[in-house]
């Protein structure tokens, strides 16, 4: 039924001149308002993270019991938490930690899954067997055991948490990559490219990856969100980054104790978290649309 599969368009573009292609991509991306808005948001967020000490008026760990659970006010425009710490300050400093944790996780696991997943999907055989079964091993380990192991042995440091999240998360994107590559590599145009004597590397980078990348974009966008969320899960379970480190996940988690009497504790960090995930999702969508000229007329 689905026998008449034809090459996706990027494959064609890849064969041609690349410069007009990227110009095209950029132009198409810029036309997508949601995506551009999201980029602006991410840039702004990064600026907040970088400039945190300059744009906040309290220390992120500075407690002030007298101002415990203060509602948003002029002095603390996002209110204060149980220990009287300024929520805005902690959010800004938390952006540093949460974003870097998320980025570290996403970068490491994407690279890892690219190497593992894409190669496994393309070459198949023993490499596929070994890596995918290793992925099975990791994805079946109860995460609590893994995290407990990491913090017991290395302590509750930020990089340890990153390591734990990577150890628990790389399999997902690896599998997605592999699935995408599997789907693409059996198509006629790849066969054609192979037949015409293209090198493996060229086939991979020019034809396979661009076509298999779309689920990965979604996975990266969600990966950033889930990495930040995992912080809160670990915090909730008592194995996360230790207080008083400001981190979004921890802030959202701690807010549970005061969900109804101090909703601002939940609202601001959770809002920031959701907006960030949304932003990356929209950027991903925009990138995908821009990369796929077929969709040009769709909007």
């Amino acid at each position: 039924m689905a026998a008449t599969v034809t090459p996706a368009a990027v494959g064609d573009a890849g064969l041609g001149d690349l410069i007009p292609f990227w110009t095209d991509v950029r132009r198409r991306f810029l036309r997508n308002k949601l995506a551009v808005g999201s980029v602006v948001y991410v840039v702004l967020l990064s600026l907040i993270a970088i400039l945190a000490p300059l744009i906040t008026f309290y220390g992120p760990k500075k407690i002030n019991p007298a101002a415990s659970l203060g509602k948003p006010s002029r002095a603390h425009w996002m209110g204060t938490d149980l220990l009287g710490r300024d929520v805005w300050t902690r959010l800004a400093f938390g952006a540093r930690i949460s974003l870097s944790v998320a980025l570290a996780v996403v970068v490491v696991s994407t690279v890892l899954s690219l190497l593992v997943g894409a190669l496994a999907g393309y070459f198949g055989g023993w490499w596929d067997t070994i890596t995918m079964r290793t992925a099975d091993v990791f994805s079946t380990l109860p995460y609590i055991v893994v995290v407990l192991f990491f913090i017991s042995v290395f302590g509750r440091k930020v990089w340890v948490i990153v390591l734990a999240i990577v150890a628990l998360g790389w399999m997902g994107s690896a599998r997605l990559f592999r699935a995408g590559v599997l789907q693409v590599k059996s198509q006629e145009y790849i066969e054609a490219a192979r037949a015409s004597g293209c090198s493996t590397l060229r086939i991979l980078t020019r034809h396979v990856l661009p076509n298999a990348i779309q689920p990965i974009i979604v996975s990266v966008a969600f990966g950033i969100g889930s990495a930040i969320l995992l912080e809160s899960v670990f915090g909730f379970l008592g194995v996360g980054i230790a207080e008083p480190t400001p981190a979004w996940g921890l802030m959202v988690g701690d807010a549970r104790d005061h969900l109804f009497d101090a909703p601002h504790l939940f609202f601001f960090p959770a809002g920031a978290l959701v907006l960030t995930v949304l932003a990356f999702t929209f950027i991903g969508d925009g990138l995908r649309d821009a990369l796929d000229p077929k969709l040009r007329g769709a909007k």
Partner: protein, 588 residues
């Protein structure tokens, strides 16, 4: 009593991360009491005997031939204003299910709570007064040197299946409970009974007990003099088991266990879900003198106190636990009928053997730490201001309590000026100190408050979250300079806190501070041997004053129940040790 590490971990880290164990406080840091850890009851006069050393108490003189006049049926009983109804308890097991509900095996307060609803022992300690009440036993006495004890049982006491509760029932049950095959952690509680050692060594099967079923007398021969046996047998380990239980192994608790208490099991317990009990109509009356007021009693299990509280708020349970930080809100909404003081103390411990903060030389430094900490602030932030600031260690309510034993700790708030003066008198440079706490958000909050207070007077501390599972073992072995801990009294006796926590010989287990001061040891030993309660109290007070003057602990707050009751609940008798007498609980 204690909620123990098991509670913490079975309740999961979750419990630790956000929670409040039911009995006491948002930061229950109960350490492991070896002897009396599980249950109610060892009376004030007799010291709980460290299980591993098995030294008999030395109070024999005081208790020789204590013939207690039998109070006909029940003494302190709560009458039922209304009979019937279902009580759903979501307080006892609100952070985790009990590990065990077999009386011979249980080690936790929460397990003992369930067990006390299903069984009655020979005696029961009225924990408020410390008086021993007759329960299944009608009276008891011992010979002159307290080596032979005779209990006279009430007539007509039956198990819920109609089986009689006879002296032989107790003998066989105890033999089962101490047998190595069962491997009960509390088998040591019976180590004063002759024959115990032989059973442990595999050389015998029987305890030296004469059970005269015809005359309803139980004669217990001891291997050495022990004056506190009548109190001791009120422990769950000594509760009678029916015939099938007497020969049952560790799996007994998986089925329907038969008890002689106010309630009986309605079916096997559903681990991690609930344990359902119904009124035992053949109950002999126990200390209340009447059958249970309730038809049904359900112990519901939760693993997350915040959800458990939500469940209570939705009207699905008759009582509930107040999650940390919600005390004011909850008591405003549901009243404070069940939030009385509980005999417990939260403190900051300091290691006596440490080269910086330990020893007599660092007294000023420790006192400075005490003066710098804003305990009123901790109370208001962490406990919604519901606690009483500890001005000493032993809480009011313990017989012999005296206020103002020391000059330290009398001011509720911080006294930075005093702290700074003490530091300048200490006159040595203070390195960064290490502070340990058992991971939880409440503990993290306390740690940061203390850290800020100390920073104000120029003392830097490094706060470190520790694995809750092995926390006390780690504190014991690795001797952190400062650590958070707490103590909940096992019975309302002065010695329970004083002797067990700061005596040199208890160094290995309960004395987390490694406090070792000869004068303190002598005074507590003297007090323990004292028969006159007033003199005994004076000795203990003096000992405590030494400990407080040295500021080897910084007392923070005394405990309080975190319990809310549904408006439908009428009577809810609970004592200051954390026990609810469910036989006397009734609904409107």
């Amino acid at each position: 009593m204690n909620t123990r590490y098991l509670k913490a971990l079975a309740g999961g880290m979750l419990a630790l991360a956000i929670t409040v164990p039911p009995a006491t406080s948002a930061v229950k840091k109960k350490k492991v009491t070896r002897v009396t850890k599980a249950t109610t009851t060892v009376a004030p006069a007799t010291t709980a005997i460290p299980a591993t050393t098995a030294t008999p108490a030395t109070t024999a003189a005081a208790t020789v031939t204590t013939a207690v006049k039998a109070v006909a049926a029940g003494g302190t009983g709560t009458k039922c204003n209304k009979v019937g109804g279902t009580f759903i308890d979501n307080w006892t097991l609100s952070t985790s299910d009990a590990q065990h509900i077999d009386p011979g095996i249980t080690t936790e307060l929460i397990g003992a709570q369930v067990i006390n609803a299903v069984w009655d022992g020979l005696t029961r300690v009225d924990p408020d007064t410390g008086n021993l009440l007759p329960d299944v036993a009608e009276s008891w006495s011992s010979n002159a040197d307290s080596t032979v004890w005779t209990f006279k049982l009430k007539k007509g006491v039956k198990f819920s299946n109609g089986e009689d509760v006879l002296p032989s029932t107790f003998k066989k049950t105890w033999e089962r409970n101490v047998s190595p095959a069962l491997g009960s952690e509390y088998a040591d509680l019976a180590n004063v009974i002759k024959g115990w050692q032989a059973i442990q060594d595999g050389k015998g099967k029987e305890l030296a007990i004469v059970a005269d079923d015809a005359n309803l007398t139980l004669t217990v021969n001891l291997s050495s003099p022990y004056g506190g046996l009548a109190q001791r047998v009120s422990h769950t380990l000594f509760f009678p088991l029916s015939k099938d239980g007497q020969i049952a192994g560790k799996d007994y608790e998986k089925g329907v266990m038969i008890g002689n208490g106010a309630f009986k099991m309605d079916g096997p317990r559903q681990p991690d879900l609930q344990t359902k009990l119904v009124r035992n109509d053949s109950y002999f009356g126990g200390i209340n003198g009447h059958p249970a007021c309730l038809d049904t009693l359900v112990f519901k299990v939760s693993k997350d106190p915040i959800s458990a509280y939500a469940d209570f708020e939705a009207g699905n349970s008759s009582n509930g636990v107040i999650p940390g930080g919600k005390f004011a809100e909850a008591t405003k909404k549901y009243g404070d009928r069940a939030t009385k003081a509980v005999l417990s103390e939260q403190y900051l411990g300091i290691n006596w053997k440490d080269s910086v903060v330990g020893g007599f030389g660092a007294a000023k430094l420790r006192q400075a730490i005490g003066a710098a900490i804003d305990r009123a602030g901790i109370n208001s932030i962490v406990y919604n201001g519901s606690r009483k600031i500890s001005t000493g260690f032993t809480p009011p309510g313990i017989p012999g309590y005296k206020a103002g034993l020391t000059q330290n700790f009398q001011k509720e708030g911080a006294d930075p000026a005093l702290a700074k003066r003490l530091i300048s008198e200490y006159a040595k440079p203070i390195p960064k100190l290490t502070y340990w706490y058992r991971t939880s958000s409440v503990e993290a909050t306390i740690a940061q408050l203390i850290q800020a207070n100390l920073k104000d007077v120029g003392i830097d501390i490094d706060i470190q979250a520790q694995n809750p599972t092995t926390y006390f073992t780690d504190v014991r072995n690795k001797n952190p300079q400062l650590f958070r801990s707490g103590w909940t009294w096992d019975y309302s006796g002065y010695d329970n806190g004083a002797n067990q926590l700061f005596h040199t010989t208890d160094d290995a287990s309960n004395n987390l501070t490694d406090f070792a001061v000869a004068q303190y040891d002598q005074l507590t030993e003297k007090g323990q041997a004292e028969s006159d309660p007033a003199k005994q109290a004076a000795d203990y007070q003096q000992a405590e004053a030494i400990m407080l003057d040295q500021a080897v602990v910084i007392p923070l707050v005394w405990g309080r129940f975190q319990t809310v009751l549904s408006p439908k609940v009428d009577q809810y008798p609970q004592n200051a040790l954390g026990f609810v007498d469910f036989g006397g609980v009734s609904l409107k």
